[in-house]
Symmetry: C2
Subunit: 312 residues, 2 copies
């Protein structure tokens, strides 16, 4: 029996064409629930976290188009909203998948926050593009409202925000209580709602946190045995796009660190997944696996995945 | 030590003028957290549920104004979104209020669903008005999309939806686990996300559930000692608007049932609160109290509130 943290992204959350229509999200998550339910039936303790990029993108468009009637909500609220909807979908889907396996439905979804540093460099030099492209004139209006936008060439302008380092999953203790009581727990969705600690208490900030980096922190704090980063592909690939691409199987932290330093993994896609896998494996609790949804069961056996271990 | 369910509504959630701007909500909830934290310090077990009317109203406007770009989300998703944002505000506010009292912050917010009957009369004869008024032409567009709208006179047209009877709080077991571990638990916000049970599993429905009626169900299922319905006024009033209004203090279920039958309580405001208070008091677990936020501590002592007991 292992304690497993699964980070859902990519095609586990939306249609194959990236669409995040409500029905597309429901269907994708129902499919994701099947292999997860198999892990539960096999006796593993399971915690699920998830991305929310397309969903937040949709909320930002709504913010923008309704701003003359309804006050826009800040980015931390957008994150909390997606924890609500994706949490709801996961509750329903896992209830069903577990019932089909004659298991009692014990699934809980927590609204959960991730602490970041108020002086994280991301706040002074935002780098993370979010939301839709707009023509320069419309971007200028948002810039007047204090947002930072960048000229992205032919597509137009796009908002950039801070993507600070996750420092602490604030609601991990509640997740542990539920996990110990036999629950599948959904938490830290979208990397967790970004908050900072101030003299006046904890307050939300305008930022997005990389969900894989938060997953690594969550897995460490839950003393998980395995972190599985479920994505669109079954492995991280060295020499991607080159003449001799090579899918990585089992690698050590040292080996993968060296490959990452050579620039094999794209900063916007596989890069953060590799970094998250490295962080958890370095923590000494267990191993990390990057794989597709179909192979999360195999990944626990170190098969059909890029597996990152402290040492072989 | 009592187990207390508190249903927050009205001025606990928005500014005095009803505004649901993000900062207004934050300030209102920070104020609500103070007397709640006092109950925790006094040793009581506390579960919080809350309304979401103005918040869902805002989300519906966004749905409508962005529909040409972003797919609208159904009402059950709107409910889940408000559980996210209001849950987040309550986590932050209670963390702060408890820290100020030198108590460890043990607060958790659950995404939670309420089961309703698929054949509830509300689905064939919707009665609950939601969202903003629109001119007839705009309402006609939404009617073509399958929504039911009604002519409400000089204000214009307004959407009506089902407001079915809450039958079961599906995530109450997770709330009990957290409560037993010493957590203040936020759950069943907005009456809970409305779902029905089908052959294919649990699915969301286009409906809103009265948050006070859900609170009564929640209080019963949690075996609470007290249900406190926190609203804008310190008591239910008999003869409201008449020559000799009389605030109710301690009344029995039989007395209040008779007064309700006489039509003393408005169907859109005090009516459901009285009905919820009656339901919980009839369940035989404990007593109900309708009062303002300032008096929730007094209400536990049966003071400064309309208190409903099985018998005196």
């Amino acid at each position: 029996m292992s304690r497993v943290v699964i980070a859902l992204g990519g095609n586990a959350m939306t249609a194959a064409d990236g669409s995040a229509r409500p029905d597309d999200q429901r269907v994708a998550i129902e499919r994701a629930a099947e292999p997860i339910a198999d892990l539960v039936v096999a006796g593993h303790e399971v915690v699920i976290t998830h991305g929310n990029g397309p969903q937040v993108g949709n909320l930002l468009v709504k913010n923008e188009l309704a701003a003359h009637v309804v006050p826009p909500v800040p980015l931390d609220w957008c994150g909390a909203q997606t924890q609500g909807t994706i949490g709801l979908l996961l509750l329903d889907a896992l209830d069903r998948a577990l019932a089909a396996r004659a298991r009692p439905a014990r699934v809980a979804a927590l609204v959960s926050r991730t602490l970041v540093d108020a002086d994280d460099a991301g706040f002074t030099e935002p780098t993370k593009p979010i939301g839709r492209y707009l023509p320069r004139e419309q971007a200028a209006v948002m810039i007047e409202h204090g947002q930072m936008w960048q000229d992205r060439g032919e597509h137009g302008w796009r908002r950039v925000v801070a993507s600070p380092e996750p420092r602490e999953c604030l609601d991990v203790d509640a997740a542990l209580v539920l996990l110990s009581a036999g629950y599948v727990v959904v938490c830290s969705g979208g990397g967790g709602v970004p908050v900072v600690r101030t003299e006046g208490g904890i307050v939300g900030v305008e930022a997005v946190i990389d969900k894989d980096l938060t997953a690594a922190l969550l897995a460490r704090d839950l003393a998980a045995d395995v972190l599985i980063i479920a994505t669109d592909v079954a492995a991280a690939v060295v020499g991607f796009g080159g003449p001799a691409p090579r899918a990585l199987a089992v690698v050590t932290v040292d080996e993968l660190t060296a490959l990452a330093a050579q620039g094999h993994f794209a900063s916007g896609s596989m890069g953060p997944k590799v970094e998250a896998a490295l962080r958890f494996a370095r923590s000494g609790n267990g191993f990390s696996a990057i794989t597709s949804l179909d192979h999360i069961g195999d990944a626990l056996e170190m098969n059909n995945a890029t597996v990152v271990t402290a040492a072989i």
